[in-house]
Symmetry: C2
């Protein structure tokens, strides 16, 4: 969940791009989100530290950081959200009751996806899926 700045710095420079304060702050902002973070939240965090940073810079860099696979995007309820890229593929459980996010390894769905490959001749590439539902406490509360 944490990111060591130097690592990212190296990867950005190695790719022939520059590590600007803006990029660091945007990366920090995505990281601080813990799980999924919206553009709005990213802008807020970034501009709290450096108000002069423009929205378009945020847009451009979120796309840039995705291209370098330093962050990944997912859709939740029509909204694009971002998080720091893990090496390990994984998915998320998002509780509609309390908003809690649970991260699960890709193995949780692996057998189902294998079955789909077998039954439908279709290779699912979807990493980083968001599955919505209800966690135990919230289900108990609803009943």
């Amino acid at each position: 969940m944490t990111h060591t700045t130097s690592d990212y710095a190296t990867r950005i420079r190695r790719s022939g791009f520059r590590l600007t304060p803006q990029r660091q702050l945007i990366l920090d902002a995505v990281c601080e989100g813990g799980g999924h973070t919206t553009i709005e939240e990213i802008c807020a965090r970034v501009q709290a530290k450096a108000p002069s940073i423009n929205r378009s810079t945020v847009y451009r860099n979120l796309e840039f950081l995705q291209r370098l696979h330093l962050i990944v995007a997912a859709e939740i309820g029509g909204e694009t959200v971002y998080e720091i890229a893990h090496n390990r593929h994984h998915h998320h459980l998002l509780c509609q009751g309390c908003g809690r996010q649970i991260e699960i390894g890709e193995e949780a769905l692996a057998s189902a996806l294998t079955a789909i490959l077998r039954d439908y001749d279709f290779l699912v590439l979807a990493d980083h899926l968001v599955l919505r539902g209800l966690c135990g406490p919230c289900r108990a509360q609803t009943e």
Copy 2:
């Protein structure tokens, strides 16, 4: 995949709302999409038949038809898409190579979701999931 107008008409009227030509055309447009249809496609189809129908009417009615559970929405790549509501829960496989859509029953993921309930005490409610990947022919082509 088809919808009998009278059935929908009845359901709309029973709920105390009106069946307008606009609503019929919008419902038809969603239906013609076969699988998932974007707002843009819906507007195009609707306005081909009745150019005077306004975009805002389309927006309003897509929301309206969702409330009545006559259509359902899903997100693909940040875009909201619509389709006629089935009674049967199901998911979609979307080929990133050729754009082909394959519909799969909910049972394809059932065991995985049951395992998630057991392992994480989390009940996944996500019906109508969109899984992206590559179909057989497209995988063969890529290699």
